[in-house]
């Protein structure tokens, strides 16, 4: 069972966690991304996320397929928010349930690392004196 979502609505972290619970599970592993208030010592006021849909959902689905082949997972949810987010808000929640904990940690880390490399989602940082697309330039 998997749930993949790119949405402009706030993410309900607890509901996402609940959605992966399974009777056969021995562990639920969760990654929650949050908006940090600074980059390299410079104050960040807010972030804006933009996605290319439906490709973003398609790429997330590919990651989940890879994870399901590599680890023994029961349920997995990957939800990413787009739009303007304030400091402390949650752009991404990843939750996986597994029979044993090791697979959950590994799968969660693989999903977030691969998401950051392949999924067409872009983040813009807003500063007092301007805006920057993250990772665009060397």
């Amino acid at each position: 069972m998997e749930s993949i979502l790119v949405t402009d609505k706030p993410l309900d972290t607890q509901a996402i966690i609940n959605s992966v619970e399974a009777p056969e599970g021995g562990a639920v592993n969760v990654f929650i991304g949050t908006v940090r208030n600074a980059t390299k010592g410079k104050e960040v006021l807010q972030l804006e996320f933009e996605a290319y849909e439906p490709m973003a959902t398609k790429e997330l689905t590919k990651i989940v397929e890879q994870v399901k082949q590599r680890w023994s997972l029961l349920k997995v949810a990957v939800h990413h928010r787009v739009g303007v987010l304030a400091i402390g808000e949650v752009p991404v929640v990843i939750a996986v349930s597994t029979p044993h904990r090791a697979a959950g940690f590994e799968a969660c880390q693989f999903i977030i690392n691969t998401l950051k490399e392949t999924v067409p989602i872009w983040k813009k940082e807003f500063f007092e004196d301007g805006e920057v697309w993250v990772a665009a330039h060397p």
Binding site: F49, M55, A56, V92, L115, W122, H137
Partner: protein, 78 residues
């Protein structure tokens, strides 16, 4: 004519969300060259990918007006 969807930094560089190209651009590689020549600031990016019909495409792939084509600058989700 092909139409190119633009996101993030490439949309800012070009100045619009969709770019229509009349020139003879037949492959993904030619499209990248065209974009870098026409908008030199694109050369300064960490990477530039092209998606054709929602899939990352190799430079050799032939493109046509019926394809959905998007420029994919360095991604930064999560």
């Amino acid at each position: 004519m092909i139409s190119i969807k633009l996101f993030g930094v490439t949309r800012d560089i070009v100045g619009k969300p969709i770019l229509e190209i009349q020139d003879n651009v037949d492959t993904v590689g030619q499209l990248k060259e065209f974009m870098m020549t026409t908008y030199p600031r694109i050369k300064g990016l960490n990477s530039l990918m092209v998606a054709v019909n929602s899939e990352y495409a190799k430079d050799e792939l032939t493109i046509s007006s019926t394809d959905e084509i998007a420029l994919i600058p360095p991604v930064s989700g999560g």
